[in-house]
Amino acid sequence: MFRQLTFTLLILGFAMTAATAKAKISIFACEPEWGALAEEIGGDLVKVKNGTNAKQDAHFISVRPSLIAMVRKADLVICTGADLEIGWLPTLLRQSGNSKIQPGTAGYLAAADYVRKLEVPTIIDRALGDIHPQGNPHIIGDPRNVLIVARKLAERLAKIDPANRATYEQRLARFESRWLQAIAQWEAAAQPLIGLPIVVQHKTWVYLVEWLNMSVVSTLEPRPGIPPSTSHLQAVLKDLGESNPKFILNAAYENDRASEWLSERTNIPEITLPYTVGGSKQADDLFSLFDVTIAMLLEYAG
């Protein structure tokens, strides 16, 4: 009886698989920034699903059934890479049973593979915390990285969906022009931030800091991924000395306990940046993400 039941279920599985027909290119984005980018480049030709939201730490995601279902149907998976999703993506891809999006295929795009990475460690030891052997994965901090990824994404979309190659190229060209303009404007607006002394909570901001030429005088997390102890914070407080930082940065998905601790004792304001698309109400696409970020930084730069 059980054998029959199982057999019936298997047949059912085949039938449902065969019955699917799809019109749009289905994209699974590990993080909302890549989902937003996929919408910029793919427009109406794609259907995007984000695996995480801006309130989640993309490092700590479990392979939930909903994610397996999303990846099962994807034609393209776009993720940050650089081991940010090491705890869940490899298992997720394997469990999805989807051959189109396995690493090495056109359907798997790891953004960080194509940009120059900062903080590539020379000593790789977990005693140093949650370090990433390939470099810091928070590449979304620098909008110039986004363009590099956009070009790769357009290339991949054209490969997966050759019939619409021209549309992807057009959309990329339009995005590229708008994005370069926007970068120039952000850079011009961010002049007052150059050399500004700041404190960061986690090493989330290296790319942003490097892009805008700010100067990090202290990092609250002594080892990435391990929350600071009070004694460490006290040491940070002492070391601040005359550096006079303007603000403390943390991300919408992080617990801001450490920032709050320091802010209360020093009156240095704490800024919670959206970090990615959806991290604040105004940051609802890639353009507004950086608009909001720059505006928030400028507000406290004074």
Partner: protein, 442 residues
């Protein structure tokens, strides 16, 4: 005259108005022309500025592209080493009952079922190697080393290959692995929320069903997660035994579904069956009194329903989450114990809740219970099959702390009534892993 005098200025002014009107039109036209010229110049300059800005930004962008690697590291033969992960599982335990007398009323136990040795002990140390084999296959093996009082035991816990590029969402697994049954069976014990497995797993699966065979599964292309699959196994592990039927003695089938409700809630529901044939499967320790030695020949059908629900604020599991998880198992046995015909059914369940109340700290409670068959043939009264009116139960409380995701220290207290005398158990356990990053399973 006075009227003329009055009119003149009017006429003159009207005249001059007419003349001024022409001038205004001219000036307006001139202004418009200048404006247009100015605007087009402005637009031209703006476009140029934009072009320059774009170029500058584009140059900046170009500088940030990852260098294309030419060549690559000279191959020294070890560059394709598989991922290696080692899990340490040390413990200190204290039991009020003698652990070597462990039994569960009404359930003859499979080999290796028990609570483990008392005192300081190093449970199994697991070494895992895994890697893709090709574009078609992935392979993984887990070797468990147990250096206890009985000497060093090396057990091949898993050694399987798995396809990664079959069409239609299919995955085929072959080799030795933990079959997809219920919720816990597929997971390694070190990923559990408690230091031991709940009663139904102990009694019905000898803590885990692990066998040689194949398993085919499909993830259906639906918005709701649905997976359906089946397996065929050698039938060498409890509740099968004796590798009956020319080494194809066990079959499984499973169906799972799951999804999210909003960002904060996730769930999974599963139904699975195990059909196992046994021929002369022996239970009970060697040298035990005859009443504890039972051999079983016949069929076991095990039906399992499992669920898991998880809540976390916005789906962020770093700071806080709550998990509620449970399984219900029903077992049908048809055959003979020690040659005495037996047909019976028993069941059991567990329900556990785990709350992560701040980063790294969790508390949990689990209740499990069994409902043994109470009508036995006369010849089997007084054996391990005879529950003597006991419906075994277990309460477990745990508290664990994880400094990071690779290290965990757990305290657990359990009170169990699986025998006449209640057992109080106390565990201190550490689970640490080095090497390859373990997966965050749901």
């Amino acid at each position: 005259m006075a009227l003329v005098a009055l009119l003149i200025p009017v006429v003159v002014s009207a005249n001059s108005y007419a003349q001024g009107g022409d001038d205004i039109a001219d000036i307006k036209a001139e202004l418009e022309r200048l404006k247009q010229a100015y605007e087009s110049e402005l637009a031209r300059l703006e476009t140029r500025l934009n072009e320059i800005e774009e170029r500058v930004a584009a140059e900046e962008v170009a500088a940030l592209e990852a260098p294309v690697q030419s060549g690559g590291a000279a191959s020294s033969g070890n560059i394709f080493n598989p991922k290696i992960g080692i899990v340490f599982n040390g413990r200190f335990t204290s039991f009020s009952n003698e652990p070597s007398d462990y039994s569960i009323a009404g359930s003859p136990l499979g080999g290796e079922t028990g609570v483990g040795p008392e005192g300081f002990g190093l449970g199994e140390t697991e070494v895992n190697f895994s890697s893709n084999v090709s574009d078609l296959f992935y392979a993984s093996t887990t070797i468990a080393i147990d250096a206890g009082d009985d000497g060093v035991e090396v057990d091949l816990e898993a050694a399987f290959i798995q396809t990664i590029s079959l069409p239609a969402g299919a995955t085929l697994k072959a080799g030795r692995f933990f079959a997809a049954l219920g919720y816990l069976n597929e997971n390694h014990e070190h990923t559990d929320n408690f230091a031991d497995r709940p009663l139904p797993y102990q009694a019905f699966l000898a803590s885990q069903y692990n066998d040689d065979g194949i398993q085919l599964a499909f993830v259906l292309p639906t918005d709701l997660y649905m997976q359906v699959g089946a397996g065929a196994f050698r039938g060498a592990d409890f509740p099968a035994g004796g590798a009956d039927n020319d080494g194809t003695g066990a079959y499984t089938g499973f169906f799972r579904l799951g999804g999210d409700v909003g960002f904060s809630n996730s769930w999974r529901l599963g139904f699975s069956v195990l059909h196992a044939d046994a021929a002369g499967r022996e239970t009970g320790e060697e040298g035990a009194p005859p009443a504890e030695l039972l051999d079983f020949s016949g069929n076991t059908d095990l039906l399992i329903a499992d669920f898991k629900y998880q809540w976390s604020p916005n789906g962020n599991i770093v700071e806080r989450y709550f998990v509620l998880q449970g399984e219900f198992m029903k077992r049908y046995q048809d055959g003979s114990f020690n040659g005495i015909p037996y047909r019976g059914r028993d069941s059991g369940f567990y329900l556990e809740g785990v709350y992560k109340y701040r980063r790294g700290l969790r508390v949990g409670y689990r209740y499990s219970q069994l409902f043994p068959e109470d009508s036995l043939p006369l010849g089997l009264l007084g054996t391990d099959l005879d529950a003597a009116g006991i419906n075994p139960w277990n309460h477990s409380f745990m508290l664990d702390w994880a400094h990071n995701e690779f290290s965990l220290i757990r305290l657990q207290y359990s009170r169990e009534r699986s025998q006449l005398i209640r057992d109080n158990r106390f565990y201190i356990q550490f689970i640490m892993s080095i090497g390859a990053h373990a997966a965050h399973t749901f």
